[in-house]
């Protein structure tokens, strides 16, 4: 039994309608040789953040396939999470002066967790850097250990990476969300895309009446083009750049802009960026800046579905799953060619890539002028997500990985 209680459980059969019966049969066939085999997933938080969200969906689905899977969360105090937050930022390339004490704190909490976590499953999957040193508990030749890295390691802080690499190189394999995020390692590295759940509140089909209610609530005109960017108020998401692109588009089209993200009230930097965005909007009544409570999944879903064009004009990005969310809803997307976005947006096939404010504006204008092309991009985008970025595909890749490790392919 898992230590973590699942927030919700959606039967595997429910996905048949979305992906087809053949895909579900295939999942069962892939899982059959693994039936009853033990798997332990370990991360550092039971709620909040993309990893917990994915495990919340993935673990129950794996249980339905008769895999003996459990999800454990490592325990740590504030000092540990302060250090791992610094490591996280440093691995993303932010300046950081590594201190001996920080490494000691990291090692100490990993050691404490080694004493309490089972770590004896046939397949142990460790998510992200926080629990990476649990690998020291491994008995030689006993079980398979995989390190799943959800962050971009393309430009890591040298000292932190050198420290972490010692542990990573002891795993059987590492998994990354994009080739661009990986490192040159002595162990095999595999590509496993993040995924969206088509049946979650953020992505499930909605009544058009509800969509209209949401538009009405935020005073958005359903009869004029709606450009939308869903992201937290963060400079790396370039919300001010989106406003500049909107202003260029506005010269040619009577459109509206929606910038919606989580509340910035408990994030000092977010609050600062929000102020900059409000200033840049300059009381334009056609710019709606929405601070949504805890991401309000149904409202995000409705806003995406109501959009004419979805924008993701990030300056830097992880994988950028909001792009897949929009594509799943068959929306034409204009996005920056950064991070994992080009994996989702195949330029001119599943959306349009841009490299500047002016480029973003140009591509939006193009789509507003050619609704038939916009619709086609949306259709192709939907198929691309169905083939590559759904939770069922992710589960399939995990199954393939376990089979491969088991067969020593």
């Amino acid at each position: 039994m898992s230590e973590v209680l699942m927030a919700s459980r959606i039967p595997l059969e429910n996905y048949e309608e979305v992906v087809g019966a053949g895909e579900i049969e295939e999942l069962r066939a892939l899982a059959k040789p693994l039936r009853g085999r033990s798997i332990e997933m370990i991360n550092s938080t039971p709620v909040g953040g993309g990893v917990a969200e994915i495990l919340n969906r993935l673990v129950p689905l794996a249980e339905e396939l008769d895999l003996n899977i459990r999800w454990d969360v490592m325990k740590g105090a504030e000092e540990f999470f302060d250090v791992t937050k610094s490591f996280h930022n440093a691995l993303h390339g932010e300046p950081y002066h590594a201190k001996r004490k920080d490494f000691d704190v990291f090692l100490s909490y990993n050691e404490q967790n080694r004493a309490t976590l089972p770590l004896d499953a046939e397949f142990v999957v460790i998510h992200d850097p926080q629990p990476a040193a649990l690998i020291d508990a491994r008995q030689p030749g006993s079980n398979h250990w995989v390190w799943r890295c959800h962050i971009d390691l393309s430009h890591p802080n040298h000292a932190v990476w050198v420290f972490l690499e010692k542990f990573v190189s002891c795993y059987d394999a590492a998994m990354f969300s994009s080739p661009e995020f990986s490192r040159q390692l002595c162990i095999p590295q595999y590509l496993v895309y993040p995924a969206i759940d088509p049946l979650s509140e953020k992505n499930c089909p909605l009544d058009s009446e509800f969509v209209q209610q949401v538009l009405h609530r935020y005073q958005i005109d359903p009869h004029r083009p709606i450009l939308t960017q869903i992201s937290r108020f963060d400079r790396l998401k370039d919300p001010v750049g989106v406003i500049r692109a909107y202003r260029i588009v506005k010269r040619y089209f009577d459109c509206q802009l929606v910038l919606a993200g989580g509340s910035a009230s408990d994030d000092p930097e977010g609050a600062l960026v929000l102020k900059e965005v409000v200033r840049a909007a300059d009381r334009d009544p056609d710019i709606k800046i929405l601070e949504l409570p805890a991401w309000a999944p149904l409202e995000v879903n409705a806003l995406q579905r109501a959009s004419t064009v979805v924008v993701q004009k990030s300056l830097r990005e992880g994988f950028g799953l909001t792009v897949s969310e929009a594509l799943w809803k068959k929306k034409p997307v204009v996005a920056s060619a950064v991070g994992g976005i080009p994996t989702q947006i195949i330029h001119k096939h599943t959306g349009l890539l841009a490299h500047s404010v002016e480029g973003t504006a140009y591509q939006i204008r193009f789509l507003l002028s050619h609704p038939e092309i916009a619709a086609k991009l949306g259709e192709h985008g939907h198929e691309h997500v169905k083939e590559n970025f759904l939770i069922t595909q992710k589960l399939k890749r995990y199954l393939a990985l376990f089979l491969m490790l088991d067969r020593h392919l």
């Binding site: 895909e23 295939e26 066939a29 590509l191 083939e387 393939a400 491969m404 392919l409």
Partner: protein, 219 residues
Amino acid sequence: MNVAETPFDFVTASYLTRIGNQSAGTLAELLTGLEQCSDASIFYHTFQTLGSHHFLTEGFSNDFAQWTLSSTNRNDLAEQLAVLDIRDYTSIAALRSDLCRVVRDFCVAEPQFASQSGLERFYFCESVEVTVPLGHSARNLDELRDGLTHLSHAAFYFHFISSRLRLQLQTNDFSHWLSSSLGLRTLADNINHIDVYTNTLDSARAKMLRLIDRERKKV
């Protein structure tokens, strides 16, 4: 109705993508990568990408052509790479040789573009194929039809596209079995002529089912 001595065993394949240690930022580097990468990498960027992007039936052929177009803006080279048809190849070596020739000829003819940086880098990856039997098989046309209708995309791709390399006969698993086990050569040929570039996996399967239904009416 003919009954085959050797059944058609339905199999599915799941593909893991292994990230290689090579990448390219220019056409010259793409050529080096093409010359040095593994066979599994050439397979991934040509055969497998056709399966994972089957829904794009216009202007998408393989990852090399797509990168050349979107990152280096060399439409002429992209077109030459895109027209290489995987159905013409029974070995990765021959396909690699032609990919290298096309890029090399372009770099020699247009040296000013060979070292120009692309907008994004190209990362060489590899396919690792994990196959699992689906647990059902066909001994006659009806059973093949029934099995076909329930296949996932990956299983259909495995039998219809990637099988070409495995068989090394310029044909696919379905056509090979229909011809060799049921003696239905015309049907086998017609199925083999379904264009995998201009059809999605679903539309290719639908055409195949129509051809099978036409054959069943003859019986």
